[in-house]
Amino acid sequence: MGRFHRHDDGTEHEHDHEHDGHEHAHEGHDHGDHSAYATGPERVVVLERIFDENDRAAADNRAALDAAGVRCVNLMSSPGAGKTTLLVHTLRHLRDTGVRAGVVEGDIETSLDADRLADLGAQISLLNTGDGFGGECHLDAPMVARALTRLDLDALDVLLVENVGNLVCPAEFDVGAHDRVMVYAITEGEEKPLKYPVMFRSVDVVLVNKMDLLPHLDFDLDLFRRNVAAVNPGARLVEVSARTGDGLEEWHAWLTDPARPAARVG
């Protein structure tokens, strides 16, 4: 790679620019003719993935969880889809069946969600993501790493990461979980899988929530299933009502299945 030098005696030169093993994207635009200039702007090839730092932190989180034998699920949804209400049922079920549970709570600014989850026997690590600088829309791996330091991982079997309510940003950030699960309320309509395909593509399970409202809505469950299948044919749909508790047995069985194969990372 060519490099501009200025020596102590004031002379300047640029080494030959060698195209060694990389490609410039020259097609479709014109850099102009710099041949008249002895020292033109110099391009330094970087080729570094912007998510590398996050992904390294996520791998560290997963290694720490694996070492402690903790299965970690990244729980994502729109705001108001029912994550916290679902967690109330799930934490109660895990407590009553002797499964040691923890929650990383990605609330914004307040501890309202965490307050609802208190006294259910779970370890809770609260992350207030509203630091005003980029963290308000999702959890990333370094944030979850900080949350893990406040948990006794050796005393856990299952860790649920309640992500920030958002269908865009959380899909992009591997937090170090083993599985990605989405809570989807049927009040959100049938078309969201097509509008937010990156999120729907990233998950292993979609908990189709608020099924108790089905008689009152025009929601077309078959169309929703087809839309999910269009973007993620492998996704498993589980119909539930976090309000009544209906359908949660299948979700709890999946969550605590020791034979559940390691899914994609998340």
Binding site: Y37, I50, E53, V168, C169, E172, L194, V198
Partner: protein, 142 residues
């Protein structure tokens, strides 16, 4: 929405790569599946670099289209506007993503050395007068 986080990561990468030298342009490849709004990213870059050594540098974003290969019919689809991740020929959802997930800093352009030298050293070095600083023309904008 997550553009500010991305800019913080980009800042770290660029600051390492520049090795103390001034930077004019940061070239990025951003696949359209990354759901990044280029204008928002450019705005966040001004916030993240403000007052620091990368202030005044700008992002050049190569927004890479989403290209899919169908696992059923084998045809290739370039996705236009809607992010509908199905085969354009047979409608199958069994697709592989060929491109569109890129998110990387490809290169940086250092600030023109003649310009940098003139700015940092008012006593210009002796020798041939430096050529006038080429004013960026629209043709040079990527």
């Amino acid at each position: 929405m997550h553009e500010l986080s991305l800019c913080q990561s980009i800042h770290g990468i660029v600051d390492r790569a520049r090795e103390g030298r001034p930077v004019e342009v940061v070239h990025l490849q951003v696949g359209r599946l990354r759901q990044v709004v280029p204008e928002t990213l450019a705005y966040c870059w001004t916030l993240v670099t403000d007052g620091g050594p990368l202030a005044g540098s700008r992002l050049d974003i190569d927004h890479v289209p989403v290209v899919l290969d169908c696992g059923d019919c084998g045809r290739r689809t370039t996705v236009a506007d809607a992010l509908l991740l199905t085969c354009g020929s047979c409608g199958s959802g069994a697709i592989g993503v060929v491109s569109g997930e890129e998110l990387l800093v490809t290169s940086i352009d250092l600030r023109d050395p003649a310009d940098a030298a003139a700015a940092s050293n008012s006593a210009a070095p002796s020798g041939p007068a430096p050529a006038p600083e080429p004013t960026p023309t629209p043709a040079e904008e990527h």
